[in-house]
């Protein structure tokens, strides 16, 4: 687990270096456990952030199922000062991306989808 965490943290750092609009990124388990993270919000309790992301993922999955729209893949939340994008990373992982206001969403989607696919393979 430790080796995998380091690999994923490196992937998150590289992604952030490629996209300056990304303020933070984390891989979270469906049980809310933060597996790897590079988050700027140090004052917040990471357990709470992990639990919130996992709950959002759960709601997203159930809603997509109820609407018969296939498998859940992504979710976005936008506030006045930025956005949170959540990507399914295999059956038990969620990739969370925190972006600046007015960020290039196309670039973020491209990088995040690629990484979530790689993480999904690692978690299998």
């Amino acid at each position: 687990m430790a080796g995998m965490t380091e690999k994923i943290e490196k992937m998150l750092q590289d992604m952030m270096a490629d996209a300056p609009d990304i303020e933070g990124a984390a891989l979270i388990g469906s049980d809310g456990l933060i597996i790897a993270a590079n988050l700027p919000i140090k004052s917040q309790d990471p357990n709470r952030i992990g639990a919130s992301a996992a709950a959002l993922l759960g709601l997203g999955k159930r809603t997509i199922e109820a609407l018969q729209k296939g498998d859940f893949s992504e979710l976005s939340l936008t506030g006045t000062d930025g956005s949170l994008y959540l990507y399914s990373a295999g059956p038990t992982g969620i990739l969370g991306i925190l972006a600046k206001k007015g960020a290039n969403v196309g670039m973020i989607n491209m990088l995040a989808r690629d990484i979530s696919e790689k993480i999904s393979q690692m978690l299998e």
Partner: protein, 157 residues
Amino acid sequence: MATEEEKKRNLAKMNAMIIYGLEKGLWDLLGESALATTTLVGEGMLEEMEKTMGLEISGEDPQDILTEIGRIFVDEIGIATKFEITKEDSKVSMVVENCVLAKVEADLVSAGIKPFMCPYLNIAAAAMRKRMGMKSKITEISCDTGNRKCKLSFQIF
């Protein structure tokens, strides 16, 4: 009219129904992600145990901390008759015997729901994450209804 003894039994049944309904509802809504509530629910319970039941968490050995939590559950509250902790490398297991919630937990398991509101599980997860800074992942929740015994395991890292 029910006798006082019957009222006590009915009250226990009512509490079990509330726990079952709450867990089933959250499971239907969130699926496996309902497990994410474990630590948050546990935080509130842990604070209450520290404030009103004399729980004092000190030291860094999860086995010691969980043993003390188990002692309070058995000796002070009487929610179960035995609470045993074993630690093997990074795996910590708790075996709880004759828990008053054993039936509702078994009903949840048989309905395909992981009993994520188990007080031992929630408080142990909160104690490890909040007080000791350890990450823990639930790896096993099993209930043996016949012997009224539950086994809960974590991996710590």
